[in-house]
């Protein structure tokens, strides 16, 4: 079994009072709780903190933990002889258990001893999975193969972690942060309890060309100055079939050219819009001939792009 230093995780002294431990927990929970935190490793950090607090807040569990002695975090260790009497009437192996599971069943034993029936139906655990998918996958729908760290209790109530693979069909039209439910794909229920559910939260990977807003798509449309002035027809790279877009004569940079129903499919019917945002781009270097043409244009034009500067 690998050692975890719960005191170090909580940032408290081994002799810390219950009050100090509670304070430390609250501070760390506000910082790392995945529902309120923006820290990148929030979920992992909070899991450790919650695990440490679960044991240290309970005087009995804390005493049992202290009896294990002190090791380096991650160091392999064996509990002292007879230590398992805290948990079970008969000796058992610690090999494939981890510390959190062990202390979780500690409470389970108390519950069993007090006669609060172990035969009560208990629903299976719900699992959460954050899936990053590409815009193309969201557009067309996709199949994902998810590998979960499933925790399944054995017949004695000890929890074992096993990888579990779930193949999920994601329907088309996923938006950022949208959630899906896979009924019955969570943990197994015990004693006739219903199986848990698997919940997937979708996040969209950035796309090199398209930006997403709900079901709408945005794409920058670079135009040469003459294309903007004279108008042009452009083939916009496809996400769901190529789109030919007409930029009218006199197209201005930053204006939105909308193509209805060519955004992303909506879950029920129809689709969002595709917006192309023209940008006027210029060549980094021009030939003498081009320069002469432009000078000619400048001389013959009465256009004043900064007319509004003088109106005040």
């Amino acid at each position: 079994m690998k050692y975890k230093d719960y005191y170090q995780i909580m940032g408290v002294d081994r002799k810390a009072s219950a009050e100090e431990i509670k304070k430390a927990y609250r501070r760390l929970a506000r910082r790392f709780h995945p529902d309120v935190s923006k820290e990148t490793d929030a979920e992992e950090r909070f899991k450790d903190v919650a695990e440490a607090y679960e044991t240290l807040k309970d005087p009995e569990k804390r005493a049992a933990y202290d009896q294990l002695g002190s090791y380096q975090p991650g160091q392999d260790f064996r509990p002292p002889p007879d230590w398992e009497k805290h948990f079970a009437d008969t000796p058992f192996t610690f090999e494939d258990l981890d510390l959190a599971d062990l202390f979780a069943s500690f409470a389970g034993r108390n519950a069993r001893a007090s006669g609060a029936g172990s035969k009560v139906p208990r629903p299976g655990q719900d699992y959460e999975f954050n899936a990053k998918i590409s815009l193309e996958q969201a557009y067309a729908g996709t199949e994902l193969t998810l590998t979960l760290n499933a925790s399944e209790p054995d017949e004695r109530g000890f929890v074992h972690h096993r990888p579990k693979t779930v193949k999920a069909r994601i329907p088309k039209g996923a938006t950022e942060g949208q959630r899906l439910r896979l009924p019955g794909q969570g943990g197994k229920g015990s004693h006739g309890g219903a199986d848990g559910n698997l919940y997937i939260t979708i996040s969209l990977l950035p796309h090199p060309l398209f930006r997403v807003n709900g079901h709408d798509l945005y794409i920058d449309l670079p135009l040469a100055p003459w294309e903007a002035v004279l108008g042009t027809t452009v083939e916009v790279p496809p996400l769901g079939g190529a789109v030919r877009l007409k930029a009218p004569p006199g197209t201005r940079a930053g204006q939105q050219l909308r193509i209805g129903d060519r955004g992303r499919p909506r879950p029920h019917a129809g689709a969002g819009s595709l917006y192309a945002i023209p940008q006027i781009v210029v060549p980094a270097a021009v030939s003498d001939r081009e320069k002469a043409l432009l000078q000619d244009w400048a001389e013959h034009s009465r256009f004043n792009p900064r007319e509004h500067f003088q109106r005040r």
């Binding site: 609250r26 529902d35 719900d126 959630r179 439910r181 807003n213 879950p267 917006y275 940008q279």
Partner: protein, 106 residues
């Protein structure tokens, strides 16, 4: 242990749960959920129409409420306030993403 292909269902406003369904999925009792509706923590599609129906996306709010209640020991009033603020942050983030989508890329 590979299993067959499972169909995933959107939890969005086009799908609705009954009070019992929603409570079971969130791991609450029907009584607790009624209490939370009273506290304004979650609102049915139409408060006046009985039996209540709930938009499926409310499930996430309730699951989050359960986590916050467990991990921060919050009572319903404090919980409702936290949820309200979190939802406001999410609305602002959505708006920010929308504005960013309109900005020309680099």
């Amino acid at each position: 242990m590979p299993s067959g292909l499972s169909e995933a269902f959107w939890l969005h406003e086009h799908y609705q749960f009954s009070l019992d369904e929603l409570a079971e999925l969130a791991g609450l009792t029907a009584v607790e959920l009624r209490h939370w509706v009273d506290e304004g923590l979650v609102t049915p599609v139409d408060l006046a129409a009985t039996p209540w129906r709930f938009s499926a996306d409310r499930l996430f709010v309730l699951q989050r409420a359960c986590r916050l209640r467990r991990d921060f020991e919050l009572e319903p009033h404090g919980l409702a306030l936290v949820l309200q603020l979190l939802e406001r942050i999410e609305d602002l983030e959505t708006e920010m993403r929308a504005l960013r989508a309109r900005l020309p890329g680099v």
